[in-house]
Subunit: 502 residues, 2 copies
């Protein structure tokens, strides 16, 4: 009797949570019992991972002397088919008692948070544990000092980029609006102004596009630290995917649980943003906060509490912060989805006739404030400087240089399948539901299909007639176009159209 | 393009949470995106279930036009291989906003709880949502009125047994100790006294044996309501598995998440116990509360808060309650595991020489208090009456009649493989770790293997010499015996042995 089994890939993507599949007649499995959330430690050579056990019935695809691993468990230990792994009981997570203490309302120390984050990164904490941790911190249950401690320990758990004491600008948007792709524009303008802005961005988690997805339409974004430094030293700025850099790595785990829960925890939101910024080596950060009924921050009151916490923690960890409130009532620009948003960005940089004005204005506001915030600050003249850099074409040139340095610029493509969705009545558009329109773009294939998404044909305030196109679904395949159209037809109220008084 | 796929069984036991496995190239899967916690509604004929999506890579065991279902999803819709199911987006859980409100610290109404429980039973809430709900209620975050509302809605979500206005006695033990199998004894004594005690019990979730598992060694326990009534009308009592009766069905979902989190929520604990008792039609309930460092209730203070909440809610929903504090410092009896505990129960009923005294005393205490609590109460004379019924053999006879009525009595078997674990030093046993000893019994195969578990050879207070057996591991296979022994050897401190002063 041994505690080893031969590994095979299950080929199942359980989205980061490692899962091990064992045959119900396997001796190890029987000894473990069939309970939910049983955890198994898998050792292979000098690698190990802790996975959740799922039991496979006899007669199915798994042999009794095999264990199958989910994609994340498979890659975590670098397994090859037939490798013999050793299975054992993981020691219980040492942070469990601290997590429980927080659930009961106790205050946690920096050491407590460090232990929770270590166990999170080691997969010792399950998704259920993480949901409990996030809920235990929900609302205002983390105080100022705890938020500082959490931010510091999240940063310390990963790499920190060192820019040799220079001023490093950065921006962040809290709870993005669909289509609000200001980042490439702000980077182009600020870098054109001679400032340093090495921007690391994320891919979409539940949205139709993250900044990294959109930027990837235009240039490569998966750069390691050396390549990042090369681009930034040459151009002053970049827009790359931060995922390859191990900056505040626990954040991805928390976000994975926070998104489906749809919780706003002031402390965790601030720690998430600022730990990543500190890890990226930023010194001066502008935080954009769109406020609106279907945005993440829903009221001016919520925004105020959040701003106060941002300023407190920024000060404590030595970041210069500025906050910017913006209108979060509707999507920004025309396009929603990687290629469609990339096209909007290019139109603004190129000053073409159809370039979305709202996106341009937002980018100028942010770039201007960021230039004002820099130590060699422009004293309120940042906005004018930003406008000059954009209108002169200097921002466009800088952006193309950055793309070239990242590996080469590519023009965005148009989707081969497009379906127009018409207005069902006459009237004036009073609102667009950010969440529903994002859903439609995702059903069309965004962000996995770069060309997929939604192109808005009308905006709040526009007068429309029955039958006039409100928006166009873009898809890579006819199937996806149809799938999105079906959903769109069942959600005709995504555009609220108010009848005009006679 | 349709939204249908052919169903096959995945044969994977994901322990109640329904999971659907779809091929990564499947059009529905692509439209859904690859995010964690994506939910899919599966309609087949007039049945439906909501499942979590896992994505299977090409080249693995699933075809592109198939969807595989986990065991729970498969049985929920009564699928047969090749059935064509319709897949769609479930409407979001209506209770999500109430769950979020609770996470932020708001008080919930009976209507709010009803909505959360409905969505729990429909699998609209994920395990992550349930973990958030449980954490949001953790500690003292449910007040008296909320606990009453939760209890009522949990009861109302399932069946309620109607006993025609008669007095119905019941008992419950909060957070069982290993081996503390008093229930069959209490039922035998109380039924022998002429009282009605239709006991529904649970199977083990994380422990080596539930009352239903132990009772199943001695007699069938899976009875429907009709069979239950037949047994109780004939014998006055029964000990059956409650799982077939749909009493407070949401409780199982909550427990599945609470156990791995190891949270004590006063409100949820009370609602869990009392909703099940009310649903079983009980009128007079004795709650046993073992208090000890490694028991569920760890201090007299905790016990007091819990008692107060029990009494408040009992009164509000019309249950007569009595509470009993007992010693929770160590396992009870000799055996841990279904057959070993059944043997202890029989030894007490048969008054054999080796019958565990502590189990006998506990059963008499509880039976006595329950007889005192009944309306035709015995005014403190219950204990003496219980003792008389046990010593006269009337309780034994009653128990055998109940077993016969449930389908026939069977003598417990002895495990074929047994391993003795010796003391490593001389001294006096000062404590036994309830949690570790339970783990060893589970590794030996309990409760899946009825004969498996641990038989204690010594108890706290006993003097032992180096090499003397402390306990014996019982297993159905040599492999399981070895597996448990390996763990036992790594946890020699499960028995704390204090050196005696010279």
């Amino acid at each position: 009797m041994t505690d080893t089994l031969a590994l095979i890939p299950a080929g199942i993507d359980t989205y980061r949570q490692p899962v091990i599949y064992m045959h119900e007649d396997c001796h190890i499995c029987r000894a473990e019992g069939f309970a939910a959330q049983t955890r198994v430690r898998i050792d292979l050579r000098d690698q190990w991972v802790i996975a959740t056990l799922n039991v496979v019935a006899r007669g199915e695809w798994l042999a009794v002397d095999e264990a199958a691993l989910s994609a994340s468990a498979w890659s975590a230990i670098g397994a090859k088919r037939g490798d013999i792994a050793r299975l054992s009981h993981p020691e219980p997570a040492t942070s469990s008692s601290r997590l429980r203490a927080k659930a009961y309302g106790e205050r946690l120390t920096e050491q407590d948070f460090a232990s929770i984050i270590r166990d999170t990164l080691d997969h010792r904490l399950t998704d259920i544990d993480l949901a409990a941790f996030i809920t235990a911190c929900a609302g205002e249950r983390l105080d100022d000092a705890e938020t500082v401690a959490l931010t510091r320990t999240m940063q310390a758990a990963g790499e920190t980029l060192d820019w040799g004491g220079r001023t490093v600008l950065d921006k962040h948007c809290v709870g993005g609006l669909p289509g609000n792709r200001t980042t490439p524009l702000v980077v182009a303008i600020v870098a054109a102004a001679g400032q340093m802005i090495p921007k690391t961005s994320s891919r979409a988690i539940t949205s139709p596009a993250g900044t990294a997805d959109t930027m990837e339409v235009l240039a490569p974004v998966t750069l390691d630290e050396r390549a990042l430094r090369r681009v930034v030293e040459a151009e002053g700025g970049c827009v790359i995917w931060g995922g390859a850099l191990n900056l505040s790595p626990a954040d991805d785990h928390f976000i994975r649980i926070e998104r489906p829960l749809d919780f706003d925890s002031t402390g965790q939101l601030v720690a998430s943003v600022l730990s990543k910024k500190a890890a990226a080596g930023s010194t001066h950060v502008l935080v954009d906060m769109p406020v609106g009924a279907t945005a993440k921050v829903r009221s001016a009151e919520d925004a105020e509490a959040l701003m106060a916490r941002f300023l407190y923690v920024g000060e404590a960890i030595g970041l210069r912060l500025a906050l910017h409130l913006s209108d979060g009532s509707a999507p920004v620009g025309r396009g929603i989805g990687p290629a469609l948003e990339a096209a909007d960005v290019l139109a603004v940089l190129r000053r073409t006739a159809g370039a979305p004005k709202d996106l341009r204005e937002r980018a100028l506001d942010l770039a201007g404030k960021l230039l004002d915030l820099a130590p060699q600050g422009l004293c309120q003249a940042g906005r004018a400087r930003a406008e000059a850099l954009l209108d002169s074409g200097e921002a466009e040139a800088k952006f193309l240089s950055i793309c070239a340095a990242q590996g080469g610029f590519t023009e965005p493509q148009l989707a081969p399948h497009r379906v127009e969705i018409p207005a069902l009545s006459d009237g004036v558009i009073s609102a667009i539901d950010n969440r529903v329109i994002a859903r439609i773009a995702k059903l069309a294939g965004a962000p996995g299909q770069k060309v997929a998404g939604v192109r808005l044909g009308a905006r709040p305030g526009d007068r429309v007639s029955r039958g006039q196109p409100l928006y166009e679904i873009h898809a890579a395949t006819p199937g996806e176009a149809e799938w999105a159209r079906g959903y769109a037809e069942r959600h005709a109220d995504v555009f609220a159209i108010a009848e005009e008084p006679e």
